[in-house]
């Protein structure tokens, strides 16, 4: 099967995104727990664009007349999965942030009580 222009576009975009993710990992701009899902999301479209025939068959099986639409759908689902994962991470951070604020406020009250100091934060 001849390589179609959209395959080149998807592969190039995917590789560019993967390169960007790798550079951000190298610079420690993305934390350890978060780089793996980003790598998966960035490299998956590239892999899918290399072996287009199984995806084309799957598209036909699913009744999708325009095969690249399956790639778009897969990309969208991956993005949704990534957003869901990030929501879980943010929720954890919110919970930890709240606990830290509570602990800090309690500790400050104890210090102020012990030293007789009174400050406003």
């Amino acid at each position: 099967m001849a390589i179609r222009p959209f395959q080149i576009f998807v592969a190039a975009s995917s590789l560019a995104l993967t390169a960007l993710v790798l550079e951000l990992i190298r610079r420690r701009k993305i934390k350890d727990e978060l780089w793996l899902p980003w790598l998966i999301v960035s490299i998956t479209p590239f892999v899918m664009s290399l072996w287009i025939s199984p995806w084309a068959e799957l598209a036909h099986l699913l009744g999708i007349a325009y095969e690249p639409a399956l790639l778009l759908m897969a990309g969208l689902l991956l993005c949704l999965a990534l957003i869901l994962y990030l929501t879980v991470v943010v929720s954890t951070l919110m919970r930890q942030n709240l606990r830290l604020a509570q602990e800090m406020a309690l500790l400050r009250e104890r210090i102020e009580s012990a030293t007789g100091a009174r400050s406003r934060g």
Partner: protein
């Protein structure tokens, strides 16, 4: 800091307050004037109006606005850490009459309940909340019955007292916003005995309520979903 009394059971009254400088002083004074003279802590939830300044009580200042539930939970954790036997809540807006606290605490002292709620709907006296809010309360009563078979006439009441068992559960798990109904379900599902005591609520003495129509709708939706999902969660163990 107030001195602990070794022999009698110790009670900490938690007063959450957000920009309630005009009323919180009177709430603290009323609580401290009670016969048992409980210790009082004001949890300043990131106020910008000097709430808590100069009040004759401990003041814990959260560094930013964390929500009413987080403020109350901070007070509960303080009570647990400092070894209090009972913890009670009085809102800083002055709506709760502190004189009802002895009735709530008496049930805890007698071991007849783990959690006592002050209900404005048992005898329907004093300030009754707006129509939509009463409708919301009716919906929450139905949800509570369905979720855990618990009958509570005023499930959104913020006036309550708890023993250490109930406090430990709430110290571990308490929603940041609109926590009351969620907390009742948690306690009921954990086997705590919940009892209601009639009380008269007052209109707030200063400031404005944070619950407007859109927030009331969010309140109902949030609690409804939380209760539905909550049934799927494992039972909380709390910390002793």
């Amino acid at each position: 800091m107030e001195s602990p009394r070794a022999a009698s059971p110790r009670t900490l009254v938690v007063v959450p307050a957000f920009n309630e400088a005009a009323s919180v002083g009177r709430v603290v004074a009323e609580a401290r004037a009670l016969p048992q003279a409980p210790d009082v802590v004001v949890i300043d939830d990131g106020s910008s109006d000097g709430t808590g300044d100069g009040v004759p009580a401990r003041v814990v200042r959260l560094p930013f606005n964390c929500g009413i539930g987080a403020a109350v939970q901070t007070g509960i954790r303080l009570a647990l850490d400092d070894g209090y036997d009972f913890v009670a809540r009085l809102d800083g807006d002055g709506q709760h009459d502190a004189r009802v606290l002895p009735a709530l605490l008496a049930l805890l002292h007698a071991g007849q309940a783990d959690f006592v709620v002050g209900s404005r709907y048992v005898e329907r006296e004093g300030f009754q909340s707006s129509g939509p809010r009463r409708l919301g309360s009716r919906w929450f009563r139905l949800l509570l019955r369905l979720a855990c078979g618990q009958q509570v006439s005023d499930p959104t009441s913020g006036l309550w007292a708890a023993n250490r068992r109930a406090a430990a559960l709430l110290g571990a798990e308490y929603a940041s916003d609109y926590p009351e109904v969620d907390a009742l379900v948690l306690l009921a599902r954990s086997g705590c005995r919940i009892v209601e005591v009639p009380t008269v609520m007052r209109e707030r003495t200063a400031g404005t309520s944070s619950i407007n129509a859109p927030r009331a709708l969010y309140y109902m939706l949030k609690v409804t979903v939380a209760l539905g999902v909550g049934r799927l969660r494992p039972r909380a163990l709390g910390r002793s």
